[in-house]
């Protein structure tokens, strides 16, 4: 293999430390908000992740965030604390539509889901318009 080719391939490889850093910051739970009413990502929507404490039946706030220009919110949770439990993703849809100068039927959307196998990856999108929404378990 030519030296030039080797150099080219080497440029695509990350060093060990950077790999570890990326692996640590990769959330096993991701979301994607899509504004189906307007055909655009749901940008700058506030959201929060909660975990149900089974002993108290109370919700513990884990993280809050705001969707980026692509409607995503990286770093929701780290793999170390992603235990098999019941979680809730809360999307501030009412405030989102208000910021666009619109009213909405849903003041917020809460999606409650059960994680039994936290070694998998879970993608929980929210497709929403002012008068409808849907979600599914993606990977």
């Amino acid at each position: 293999m030519s030296a030039r080719r080797l150099q080219y391939i080497k440029g695509h490889l990350l060093d060990k430390d950077k790999c570890a850093e990326m692996a640590a910051s990769y959330s096993p739970l991701t979301t994607h908000v899509l504004n189906t009413g307007m055909g655009i990502p749901g940008v700058q929507m506030a959201l929060s992740l909660h975990r149900l404490d089974p002993s108290t039946s109370l919700w513990n706030l884990l993280s809050t965030g705001t969707t980026n220009d692509d409607g995503r919110c990286p770093d929701l949770i780290s793999r170390e604390v992603f235990t098999p439990d019941v979680y809730k993703l809360r999307f501030e849809t009412g405030k989102y539509w208000e910021s666009l100068g619109e009213t909405s039927f849903y003041p917020y959307v809460e999606i409650v889901f059960t994680i039994t196998n936290p070694s998998q990856h879970f993608h929980i999108p929210l497709l929403c318009s002012r008068f409808s929404y849907s979600t599914y378990r993606g990977s």
């Binding site: 019941v86 009412g94 909405s104 039927f105 849903y106 003041p107 917020y108 959307v109 809460e110 999606i111 409650v112 889901f113 059960t114 039994t116 497709l127 008068f131 409808s132 929404y133 849907s134 979600t135 599914y136 378990r137």
Partner: protein, 120 residues
């Protein structure tokens, strides 16, 4: 002469999109937010019929402007069919400004997805 009760201004319809059948015998409940106490008051409890519907959710008189929540016991439903499900329950929170209209709140669901919309 028998007196016919008025149709509820709020209706729902549960559809099991995975099996292509109505969501039969699913327990659900309607709640209204008490805005002063910021707690949910239970308005009705019901179970969907053979068509996945649940008539008589609320009377016209009781259907005041406010924030409401419909809770569907989806986890128990799938369990009764011998399945697990990703969602232990589904709660849909919505705002009613003009209670004189008709509001239809369907729930279309499978074990790993659901959707809803404001119908009439």
């Amino acid at each position: 002469m028998s007196f016919q009760t008025e149709e509820s201004p709020l209706t729902t319809h549960v559809l099991n999109t995975a099996d292509g059948v109505p969501g039969v015998r699913m327990t659900l409940s309607l709640h209204r937010l008490d805005s002063t106490l910021v707690i949910w008051n239970l308005v009705t409890v019901g179970t969907t019929n053979e068509d996945g519907r649940c008539p008589g959710l609320i009377d016209n008189d009781a259907f005041t402007p406010g924030m409401y929540k419909m809770r569907f016991e989806t986890g128990k439903y799938w369990e009764s069919l011998g399945h697990t499900s990703f969602y232990p329950y589904v709660e849909i929170v919505f705002t009613i400004n003009k209670p004189k209209q008709k509001f239809h709140l369907p729930l279309l669901l499978s074990r790993f997805s659901y959707s809803t919309y404001r119908g009439s």
